[in-house]
Symmetry: C2
Subunit: 251 residues, 2 copies
């Protein structure tokens, strides 16, 4: 194996997996997204090359260039870690990178990470499923112009299906998303939570309703949680005093 | 904090988080599910008490007893790690445990884990979202009699919503689930993958279609993936040669 597609987790460096940490510690090259915590990059050896490919959630990255770079590096036989926010196979376009590496004959391995889709709600004290409140959770991207959306997202059916809805990269389209869900029959009083910079020192949580979502003003990276569970606040801290001593959301 | 609700990840000990490993290493008591890898339990100090609360996926655990135990242990002021498979807040009933601890005035912290809902597909080379194939993923429990299902699951709307469907604990109800999805309009030729004991040495993957799901004979723990992405096999290994030297699915 020469290229490792590693999920960095939602933000808190303590939420990287042991396997991910081990691979970083022996990497020759680390190709990383922009929002990766510097503390994770410091796990790489002193001489390792660090390449920021500038992939910001919600932005349109030069994916073809990233993929070409991974193939080129993979062919040198070096240990290459492609460090991606969250989980590589959940809206991370890791599938495209894996496919291209496979087609090019470059050995690779996928190391799952803790997805922000579940960890961002948790960091706000919200379990995505909960007895009596939600028996399913749907994760969707709200990013318009997303090239991975062939026919767009069927918000009407998603709305009707009930359960918890987690929208990644959805803030710029929040008004439209709220509108579509209201038209599908969801109540304007449905609880909504927006979690910004989840699990990091910069975390902010705004609680509102589906009717109030359009008025929430938080930039990326933010995760929108829609459904009865978004009204819970179990008060659980996440990541406080992690390996790095980084403060949790409530510390 | 006295009680830590820690996600153990999908199976491979390398997929535990750094934070989870740190907490285990200083635990006085570890209260764990049955299917937790012994290697993770060995991360606890020599003198630590290990309590198997025997929670098998698909079985009906004595949840009230587990919760009462956590409260009792939490009140002793010891460092208690409640080690749960996958992520505590994704079908793990961690929300109930957190709620009860909070109500009882016991300090706790939630440490997210890598969810089997995403890692099991990944271990079979399947990204749950992929350009041109799926822009959303819904995770649902197929376990009938699940007390967390107030009105059951709206399979018809879930089916119509398209996107990837991941069914946890669904094997005993696979025939009924396939039937409901077919009636919602999903094609019998829709790709399906069943991943048994994902990310461990015992991993098995069966590939079929929605029409063939009823005939798949794999026991728990298994995750069912339904949708176009289930036809992918990006050939990615997961966890091979992890910290524990445990073999990955293809090794």
């Amino acid at each position: 194996v020469t290229v490792y597609l590693v999920g960095a987790g939602p933000g808190d460096p303590g939420l990287l997996t042991r396997r991910g940490a081990e691979l970083l510690a022996r990497a020759d090259v680390v190709v990383h997204d922009r929002l990766i915590d510097h503390e994770l990059l410091e796990l790489a050896p002193n001489g390792a090359e660090l390449i920021d490919v500038g992939k910001v959630p919600g932005a349109s990255p030069a994916q073809a260039g990233i993929t070409a770079l991974l193939i080129e590096l993979g062919r040198t036989g070096q240990e290459v870690v492609r460090l991606k926010g969250g989980d590589p196979f959940v809206f991370g376009r890791g599938g495209e990178e894996a496919e291209a590496l496979g087609d090019a004959g470059v050995d690779f391995e996928v190391v799952p990470g803790v997805s922000s889709a579940f960890a961002a709600p948790a960091a706000a004290g919200i379990p995505v499923t909960h007895r009596g409140l939600a028996t399913s959770v749907t994760v969707v991207t709200g990013h318009v112009g997303d090239p991975s959306a062939p026919g767009g997202v069927d918000w009407a059916s998603l709305g009707r299906a009930g359960g918890t809805l987690v929208v990644m990269m959805g803030m710029s389209e929040r008004a439209r998303i709220a509108d579509e869900l209201l038209r599908s029959g969801r109540q304007a009083t449905t609880p909504v939570a927006v979690v910004h910079w989840a699990t990091t020192e910069r975390q902010q949580v705004v609680r509102t309703t589906l009717g109030g979502l359009a008025a929430v003003d938080l930039p990326a990276p933010s995760v929108i949680v829609v459904g009865a569970v978004a009204g819970l606040d179990l008060g659980a801290l996440v990541g406080e005093g992690g390996p790095a001593g980084q403060g949790g959301p409530s510390s």
